[in-house]
Symmetry: C2
Subunit: 136 residues, 2 copies
């Protein structure tokens, strides 16, 4: 399977004109389930696309997120992280190694008087603690 083709389809599905850089970033996020930072994406793509600029990566993830082709995670206090998996799931950050894991999300009931009149368009569930490797 040519994963670049998949990334192109994803871009088009979300109304984004595909370019070499956009497809590369989209493909990276679809094939790397590490919830990478802009820095990581840039470092990993640079060898293949020598002219790539970090600004382009910033611009691209912003564009992708605005078109809801990817998720923006604020689970890490330092850097913003991005996720190519847009299906509903929660995230876990290990306080020791910093790695982020996907967690299944069961369900969430939100039907309280206080919520009347609010329109919820996005939900993020963040856990933190120690992962399997780090809980010594």
């Amino acid at each position: 399977m040519n994963s670049i083709l998949n990334s192109k389809k994803r871009l088009e599905k979300h109304g984004i004109k595909p370019s070499l850089q956009r497809m590369a970033v989209m493909d990276y996020l679809m094939t790397h389930r590490t919830h990478p930072t802009v820095e990581m994406i840039f470092n990993d793509l640079s060898p293949d696309i020598p002219t790539l600029s970090k600004t382009t990566v910033y611009n691209t993830v912003k564009l992708l997120a605005e078109h809801e082709a990817i998720l923006t995670l604020n689970i890490d206090e330092k850097n913003v992280r991005y996720d190519g998996d847009i299906s509903p799931h929660a995230h876990f950050r290990c306080k020791l190694c910093g790695n982020i894991h996907d967690f299944p999300i069961e369900r969430m009931e939100i039907k309280h008087p206080e919520c009347e009149g609010f329109t919820i368009s996005e939900t993020q569930v963040y856990y933190s603690g120690f992962c399997r490797n780090c809980k010594n």
Copy 2:
């Protein structure tokens, strides 16, 4: 009710030695349910404590959070926000006005094979969308 007294008690309960600045920040977070940034806390306390330094506010909220006397919210991409209400609840950020509201949290079932071996010490639930005032 002298709310400064309450803040002193909260500090002591969490093993933090009370000082003028620490009590002021703790009190501010207990009486202002706006999930303020360091900037906001600093600006509002400065008139009363003219010698106050922004570094002190940074130091203090870090200390309070480490001792779990307050919550750290990463719901806002720009600034870290702090919450003096440590009882379980979720947060909602309006995409238009940026205000953050408390939401009740019903329950959350996390009992999936994928979670085996992970130790969850903290859970944050963030919603975003449009608040009552902003949904035009």
